[in-house]
Amino acid sequence: MSTNPGVWLAAFFTLAIYSFLYGDNPAYKFSEHLFVGLGAAHAAVMGWEAMVKQAWTPLTTKGELWLLGALIGGVMLLTRWFKPIAWISRIPLGFMMGVAAGLSLRSAIDSQFWRQIQSTLTIKLDSANNILYIFILFTTLTYFLFAFNDKSGFGRGIKGIGVIGQYMMMIAFGASLGSTIMARLSLVIARLSFLFKDWLGVLQ
């Protein structure tokens, strides 16, 4: 059995969280509340360090004045804690939203849309697997057509193809769920190995 107080502490937290599987209790409540605090603090510390390294130090030691824009924007973000001037925080927020939207449009059009289609177009319909691949892609994408009236004959036709797509998606979802079990069990195995190896020392 471990004599390291850190290991004992870690073991306490591990058991406290698992106790929630049985039901809510004070040990869980304590751990949950402590974790919320530690989590917020760690994020803030990382934010602070990155800000100092990337903006403050180069600005003050190397005189990189263009960084001033970002620092002012950052301070404007913090105005939200002061009700009368909280609106100022929307200015950098608008900027951030713009950059984020621009970048996500870039990656959506390029790697998620264009190159995925390009890769599809190199497929030759010369084997059952390839034909099936295109068929499933076609029906799935049809499911995501929205702009039609589902009462018209045309609409019913599209909907029919979409229903096939829905069945195909179910196969994909099943595959996801199946491969997820593996991922999640790994986490439990790691915790159990901590408890029985590092803490209790009964496992080699």
Binding site: I117, L121, F138
Partner: protein
């Protein structure tokens, strides 16, 4: 002097076409042409979920997931403002939990706005729009606690979800809440499918504003997106047939 980056001409042409069509359809809707959108069960289920909470006298829980402020969050805002309006009208408590400081600020305004619009500004409870944590696991543990202690009758999850989707959906199922999940992050959809009563799959979430609020701008966007899908369908069928015949014209064109 203007010079394009090699291999981007095709994408640029597509983007410009997309924008032109977008404005064309926005104009048409604004002029009063009725544009139709197919039925989406997940959105229709929102009323059922809220209504059940009203009958049982239990609160509705609404959350965005842990992801960054992106397209999913924006779409979710439209759903939230509808849900908050219905809750205000039916005098049902609404608990909103958040993982992003920026989103918290915006949700407070959306929920308060909905209560004001319903003529019940005094019934807005600031304490019910809660920032929980920006760390994923802390966010999960806090919401598990809320489920056990406040027992919401409906759990609505719309936004950029990561691994928290499975835990929240299963914890919601365990307390017997009626659940609607929706995310554009396709990978998390299976977990909602497994444990929710209704699921908005991928792109369906982005239709929220157009479907629920029928805003012309959003309806226009849906039509432009459908154009992109039709184009893809045609390209895929034509392109693979041509590629089988040994002709790579479309692919060469897309490389330009």
């Amino acid at each position: 002097m203007v010079e394009l980056v090699a291999g981007t001409t095709g994408k640029l042409v597509f983007l410009v076409t997309f924008i032109v069509l977008f404005f064309y359809f926005v104009n048409r809707t604004a002029q009063g042409h009725k544009l139709v959108i197919r039925r989406i069960a997940g959105f229709d289920a929102l009323d059922e979920a809220i209504g059940r909470c009203t009958e049982m006298g239990r609160p509705v829980h609404y959350t965005f997931g842990i992801g960054v402020l992106d397209a999913n969050v924006l779409a979710s805002f439209d759903v939230l403002s509808y849900v908050a309006g219905q809750c205000a009208r039916l005098n049902t408590d609404l608990i909103v939990t958040n993982a992003l400081g920026e989103v918290q600020m915006m949700t407070e305004e959306i929920v308060r706005g909905a209560y004001v619009n319903a003529g019940k500004p005094d019934e807005y409870k600031a304490d019910n729009v809660r920032f929980v944590s920006n760390i994923q696991t802390a966010y999960m543990s806090a919401i598990l606690g809320i489920f056990q202690r406040e027992r919401p009758g409906a759990n609505l999850m719309m936004g950029p979800f990561y691994a928290e989707s499975m835990m929240l959906a299963e914890a919601g199922a365990q307390i017997g809440a009626i659940q609607v999940g929706g995310t554009g992050r396709v990978i998390q959809v299976p977990f909602f499918i497994a444990a929710c009563d209704y699921t908005l799959v991928g792109d369906e979430l982005f239709v929220a504003g157009a479907y629920i609020a029928r805003k012309p701008i959003q309806v226009g966007a849906i039509y432009a997106q459908d154009f992109g899908k039709w184009l893809t369908l045609v390209l895929v069928v034509l392109g693979t047939i041509m590629s089988t015949a040994g002709n790579s014209a479309i692919n060469d064109l897309m490389k330009k």
